[in-house]
């Protein structure tokens, strides 16, 4: 079982994502932004960070990297893909997921241990959770406000595609407190908080991130 972790110039949490993959016994494969080659991986993580400095718009420049030319069709064909924070922004900019992420409503970068409620366990990345389960993982970003027009939001809600919602106060002004969403098929998930920072006792607020990675192992094995 091989999980690819993409490194764009300015990716920061790629090492952590690879560590999380290894923590559940899978092999982490480095995917380089400049190569349109997925190296035969079974799933892909677009990690957090500031690809291309997050200049222009977060994820906007990364979306045109050669690796995305290979990833976009593969994801559309059902390859499990998760975008974490900057990776979520890349997925939205690539139109693999609807909506966009804008500057936090309080305009500051915010690093907190964030409570989330899991609302959808039918995706490739969340089957090891339970619906309604509350988890605490790290939220850290400056541009994490999820926005979309009303029809899109209604559709996401109606189709059960809101995967995570912020519990407690809205940390960044996201519409309807949405923290993460999925595509129709459930193979692509994007979320702002960081499961890869919650896989090891003592190095993060919890180990609530582990089920993300065990879930995708099952999804691949059962596929």
């Amino acid at each position: 079982m091989k999980v690819g972790v993409v490194t764009f110039p300015g990716s920061l949490d790629d090492r952590d994502a690879a560590r999380a993959v290894r923590a559940v016994g899978a092999e982490a494969v480095t995917l380089w932004h400049g190569d349109a080659d997925l190296k035969g991986v079974d799933a892909v993580i677009l990690p957090g960070g500031f690809s291309y400095g997050d200049y222009l718009r977060c994820g906007a420049i990364a979306r045109f990297a050669p690796v995305m030319d290979a990833l976009i069709p593969a994801a559309q064909g059902g390859l499990p893909v998760i975008g974490i924070c900057n990776g979520f922004q890349v997925l939205c900019e690539s139109h693999l997921l609807p909506g966009a992420l804008i500057r936090n409503d309080h305009r500051k970068f915010n690093c907190v241990d964030q409570r989330l409620v899991v609302e959808n366990t039918q995706t490739a990345w969340t089957s090891d959770f339970e619906v309604g389960q509350e988890i605490t993982i790290v939220l850290k970003n400056g541009e994490g406000g999820f926005v979309a027009d009303e029809p899109t939001l209604d559709r996401l809600e109606g189709e059960g595609r809101v995967v995570f919602r912020y519990a407690g106060d809205n940390p960044n002004g996201s519409y309807r407190k949405i923290a993460g969403i999925t595509n129709e098929r459930g193979n692509i998930v994007g979320l702002m908080p960081h499961p890869e920072h919650a896989v090891e006792e003592g190095y993060g607020p919890s180990t609530d991130g582990l089920p993300f990675f065990t879930s995708v192992l099952k999804a691949v094995v059962n596929a």
Binding site: D13, D16, F50, G53, D54, K108, F109, K140, E196, Y203
Partner: protein, 604 residues
């Protein structure tokens, strides 16, 4: 963009030799008459304007430590062989390096970026963080954490509302984007910092012992390579006097004093440097910080065993109108200089290409003993590099214990009123809890990423930051920075020792064995004998305290002239202590964890 620009004739060495009588703007560049005279003596003629630029910046207080270095003998005098045991690289290099066991080495250093942060808080703080990270990179290490000891004026002063959010956003903006966990720091408010906020930044890096790199150029024929960002007119406001005095007007005259940081470029530079180190293609390396190319070329050459030849016109420019003097002085950020064997050049260039980092061969190491710099074939600098980098002036400035100290020390707490009942105690407690120096700092710390890299075992709100270095074993380091400048004002010797002791305790209580010290000495004007006395006392206090504790000072930074008019800031010797733990998962957090546990008070 290649604009055609007429090149005015440059001030060459030949021309300088023939025109000894030319009046040069040495005073406007901050040189004293006797300093200018000794430059003429060293090179046996008047300096060219490029040489004058180099000497003036390298002999400045900031680069030459001319007022402070006579006191640094106190470090050596107080360092025993035992204290040196774990010291792999000591004072004098870009940063000190200590052996933390299992083949791992750690380097750390704290530096100031006070004045630029007052002018442009965001960029000043951001480039301060960027600068200290490059120092750590240049030792061969991967940077693993940063900390930011900060001092501001009164929280309610309107100017604090400009400076504080800008500085915090700048520290966060750079650190978050470059992907280093911020594991601690300080936020202190005191009126004495109103016109002189202190922005200190500390970086820790780790490497295998065999990967330590040094800033020296040796090996005749080895190539000297500049890589990273293009050179612009950043931070050279001062040298424009040269342009206007020596050359025709007409070139673009705006030379910004403000440097803008590009953390993305620096992140790429870090990864690129680490790949270069892993490929063993770097012989010597130096970061470009204050004094830019003047500093990098002269220090590399001075630390090496030969000379160096540089073709300055090869430097890739962001602004084609820059004059050679300005290129030498530019403080453009996110640049490094490496010395590379010719046989490894192709591999070097392949790695920089992969990271999209521009790299240019500027020249090579020669068998002479001079640093020679040419501009379109003409020699504009020909100097002994040591005279620029290491043999600048040394001052023995007068010291005098300030007269106000007796009154200040006599004014103790005995005469203060004491609360006599519960209400009095309550109101005192509330006053304390509401004071900006004691209240919750999460408004600041929540703006910093403390989790990135996945190795943070302790950060805010704990007294020391703790990060894992070795993922297999859990071996790692704890770091704390501290200083109470009110104590240092009352008694700089004891105050500095208190800062050292607090930092030492914070590291020890986290569960680590303290190993090494770095310090950032923030003071007023060295021309004031009272300030100089405070400085001497503080250095003595730290050095003797370190001897007692058995841990060496491995490096640091001096920031003078933190004063407005006659009023200096309180002496602020910020101390950083680093300790080692063989398994950071066993660290001890501060704060109660479980109800029912017993509370002990240890000590006196």
């Amino acid at each position: 963009m290649t604009a055609q620009i007429d090149r005015p004739t440059v001030d060459t060495v030949g021309h300088a030799a023939q025109t000894p009588e030319v009046d040069q703007p040495w005073a406007a560049l901050g040189l004293k008459a006797d300093e200018y005279a000794s430059i003429r003596e060293i090179i046996g003629r008047r300096p060219t304007s490029a040489e004058l630029a180099m000497y003036s910046v390298m002999w400045s207080e900031h680069c030459s430590y001319k007022s402070s270095k006579v006191h640094f003998s106190l470090w050596g005098e107080n360092t025993t062989d035992e204290m040196r045991e774990k010291l792999l690289v000591g004072i004098g290099e870009n940063a000190g390096v200590v052996d933390i066991g299992d083949g791992w080495a750690v380097t750390f250093k704290v530096e100031s970026h006070n004045h630029p942060s007052y002018v442009e808080p965001y960029q000043g703080a951001a480039t301060g963080v960027g600068g200290i990270i490059r120092d750590i990179m240049s030792m061969g290490a991967r940077p693993i954490a940063i900390m930011d000891p900060l001092r501001f004026g009164n929280l309610n002063h309107p100017d604090t509302q400009r400076v504080l959010p800008g500085v915090v956003a700048g520290v966060g903006g750079y650190g978050n984007c470059i992907g280093l966990p911020n594991i601690g720091g300080e936020v202190v408010f005191d009126d004495c910092y109103q016109g002189n906020p202190l922005v200190n930044a500390l970086c820790v890096g780790a490497m295998r012992i065999e990967d330590i790199h040094l800033a020296k150029a040796s090996g005749v024929g080895n190539k000297v390579i500049l890589f990273g960002a293009k050179t612009g007119g950043d931070g050279i406001g001062g040298v424009s006097v040269l342009a206007s005095e020596t050359f025709d007007a007409g070139g673009p005259t705006k030379r910004p004093a403000v440097q803008v940081g590009d953390p993305f470029a620096e992140k790429v530079l870090i990864e690129c440097c680490l790949d270069l180190y892993a490929a063993h293609v770097v012989d010597g390396i130096q970061d470009l910080g204050g004094a830019g190319l003047s500093c990098a070329t002269s220090e590399l050459a001075s630390n090496g065993d030969g000379g160096m030849q540089i073709e300055l016109d090869r430097v890739p420019l962001r602004d084609a109108s820059l004059r050679p003097e300005e290129i030498l002085m530019s403080e453009s950020q996110e640049r490094m200089m490496a010395v590379v064997e010719p046989g490894k050049l192709d591999e070097f260039m392949a790695i920089t290409d992969r990271w999209d980092v521009e790299a240019t061969v500027l020249g090579e190491v020669t068998d002479g003993d001079h640093l020679v710099i040419t501009w379109h074939g003409e020699v504009i600098v020909d100097v002994p590099p040591r005279s620029v980098a290491h043999e600048g002036p040394t001052y023995h400035r007068p010291l005098e214990r300030p007269a106000y100290l007796d009154d200040l020390q006599a004014n103790g707490t005995d005469t203060l009123g004491r609360p006599v009942d519960g209400n009095g105690l309550k109101s005192d407690l509330l006053t304390l809890l509401a004071s900006p120096n004691l209240c919750d700092k999460s408004w600041v710390t929540d703006q910093y990423d403390r989790y990135v890299l996945g190795n943070t075992a302790l950060a805010m709100p704990d007294d020391a930051g703790v990060v894992r270095v070795d993922e297999e074993t859990g071996r790692g380091v704890a770091v704390s920075t501290d200083c109470n400048s009110r104590f240092a004002k009352l008694d700089p010797y004891t105050g500095a020792q208190l800062a050292l002791a607090e930092s030492y305790r914070n590291v020890a209580t986290a569960g680590a064995t303290p190993l090494a010290v770095t310090d950032c000495l923030n003071f007023g004007s060295p021309e004031d004998p009272g300030v100089m006395w405070q400085f001497r006392e503080s250095v003595k206090g730290i050095a003797e305290g370190c001897k007692t504790l058995g841990i060496p000072v491995t490096g640091g930074n001096v920031s003078f002239y933190n004063q407005t008019g006659d009023i200096a800031i309180h002496p602020t010797p910020v101390i950083g202590v680093l300790g080692v733990m063989d398994d950071v998962s066993r660290r001890t957090p501060s704060g109660w964890k479980t109800a029912g546990q017993v509370i002990y008070l240890l000590g006196m």
